[in-house]
């Protein structure tokens, strides 16, 4: 396959890799500030023990495990989306595949950290291997996670190989020697001859076929793990597919945010990651939103209808009890995200004098609805009157609707902004979904007195730190390797021009 690299591509994709400007160092400094408190508080946890968290029996899994499931979910989607688009030979996938695959690797690495953080004695981690039995669901999780991480690293490396050779051969004279050496070692003597291209594409195809079931196994194994504990709310056959759907849904959200972040970081990427990608993957995002709503309804409706003695308190805690703000907050975020993605497609972009379609109306209504939601969530004694609560609920729905209507026209001409806002809502909503799966069950466990769980400063700081580490990995990795797959973009261009083989 004949590849051509233009001077333009080299300037835009490779030159920034050698420029450590102020923007880069400011980002690193900001991320260190975000990560540092979490690390310090984790060291404190290591010294003092899990008593500094709110973890206790029967709530032995808290914010750390919520992070674990959330990160497993978002990371599952990256490589699975990339592999699916590759198998379907979708051409617009080319500029985003690398970001998608790297998100999987970094997501899984940070997810693994959560398990260690959840242990009071991480030095005993080795015991899970030394004394692990095959019948233990934890072993299935370890097997699935390790296999997926290794396969994802391999898939990313395969896709990087021609670009590493490119970096090796085009490194500027001013580039540090260690960096040139690194590219030489990692390029594995890649020469780009026809046989190497053929073998690389065969290997990528086989990995793409295998990685989809491995990815699905990873997230369903987590739901099996829950089911085998025989706790109310977790003995559900829907949990496996529900987790997978949620994973793909949130994974697309993270992919949108990561690509937009990369575009902001390197302005030239706007030429490669165009609005076409947001438009096309956005449709799939909308479909996943519909499937997610169906599963949420299914999961809630079954438990509500059967009113089983152990199950119902868990559902009631979500619908009306202490977890109601998280449960309804999750649903409202998802409704808002779906509206943001869908509604702008059905309004005209001509200016309107309709008061309900003004941005100022939308923003004012958003602020009022947030205040009412907060008031309802706080359960203030002064607002305990049922009539007052009903009035507040009706007012909330009215302002929520006005908020959605008001921002629609503004979003019409801002596809990327709309997608990023929707993605942020979906990510936060999905974190809450993981919270809503775990915490109501653990606080209403079988054969144990009901209890409460409120994450402490340590758990909150470690959670923030985790997302900081994920971002740091992303920023540092893309200072060494191009965030857009140069060879795939070139190949795509050649195919579009009809000159590719």
């Amino acid at each position: 396959m004949q590849q051509t690299l233009t001077l333009h591509d080299r300037d835009e994709l490779l030159t920034p890799l050698y420029q450590f400007d102020r923007k880069f160092w400011t980002t690193i400094a900001a991320l260190v500030l975000v990560i540092a408190p979490g690390i310090l508080l984790y060291i404190r946890q290591l010294v003092l023990g899990l008593g500094v968290t709110d973890l206790n029996r029967p709530v032995f899994w808290g914010a750390y495990l919520v992070n674990f499931i959330f990160l497993i979910g978002v990371s599952m989607a990256g490589t699975v989306i990339s592999a699916t688009l590759l198998l379907l030979k979708v051409n617009w996938r080319r500029p985003i595949t690398r970001i998608a695959e790297s998100l999987t690797v970094f997501g899984l690495m940070t997810a693994g950290l959560q398990i260690i953080m959840d242990m009071g004695r991480p030095d005993r981690l080795v015991f899970t291997l030394l004394y692990g039995r095959l019948q233990a669901p934890l072993m299935w999780d370890i097997a699935s996670l390790t296999l997926y991480l290794l396969t994802a690293i391999f898939a990313l490396y395969l896709q990087l190989l021609p670009d590493i050779a490119l970096l090796r051969d085009t490194a500027p004279a001013t580039a540090p020697e260690w960096r040139k050496k690194l590219y030489t070692i990692l390029s594995l003597n890649w020469r780009g001859n026809k046989e190497q291209w053929t073998r690389l594409e065969k290997a990528m195809l086989v990995v793409s076929i295998f990685i989809i079931p491995i990815g699905i196994s990873l997230h369903t194994v987590t739901s099996w793990l829950f089911s085998t504990t025989v706790q109310p709310g977790w003995k559900s056959t829907i949990l496996g597919p529900y987790f997978v759907v949620g994973a793909i849904y949130s994974g697309i959200g993270l992919l949108f945010i990561a690509t937009t972040f990369a575009r902001y970081y390197n302005k030239h990427l706007k030429e490669y990651i165009t609005e076409k990608f947001y438009e096309n993957l956005g449709w799939f995002f909308i479909v996943m939103s519909g499937v997610w709503f169906y599963f949420t309804l299914n999961e809630t409706l079954v438990a509500t209808t059967e009113q089983e003695t152990l199950e119902f308190p868990v559902v009631a805690a979500k619908l009306f009890g202490e977890f109601a703000p998280a449960f309804w907050g999750m649903n409202l975020l998802m409704i808002a995200a779906t509206w943001i993605l869908v509604a702008p497609k059905f309004v005209s972009d001509k200016p309107s004098r309709n008061l309900f379609l003004q941005t100022t109306t939308g923003l004012a209504a958003t602020a009022i609805s947030v205040v009412i939601f907060a008031l309802l969530s706080l359960r203030l004694p002064a607002l305990s009157d049922p009539n007052l609560q009903t009035g507040l609920l009706l007012a909330f729905f009215l302002f929520f609707l006005l908020a959605l209507l008001g921002v629609t026209k503004w979003l019409k001409t801002r596809l990327i902004t709309a997608t990023v806002i929707a993605s942020a809502f979906v990510l936060f909503g999905m974190w809450l979904e993981r919270w809503n799966v775990l915490m109501p069950t653990l606080t209403h466990a079988r054969l144990a007195p009901y209890t409460t769980y409120h994450p402490t400063v340590t758990e909150i700081a470690v959670t923030i730190s985790t997302f900081g580490i994920l971002t740091l990995m992303f920023v540092v990795f893309y200072k060494f390797f191009p965030s857009v797959s140069v060879w795939e973009v070139e190949e795509g261009r050649a195919l579009e021009q009809g000159s590719g083989d």
């Binding site: 690299l5 039995r133 085009t170 026809k194 190497q196 690389l200």
Partner: protein
Amino acid sequence: MNFPLEQPIFQFFYWLVNTPGVGAGVVGLLVGAAITTFALTLRWIASAKDVEQEAYPYPPKL
């Protein structure tokens, strides 16, 4: 009535799923097989010889 665990095959399965440490052994085998496959695939790609003397695209002609 035959009890399944009287049969060696079921005794083996019982040993396989219940013995501490065997789980890690199975995971190790799985991971070892994956790493070996990936390493051999990379070697297979790297060792490909240019049979038709195709034009070498790297470094690119700028």
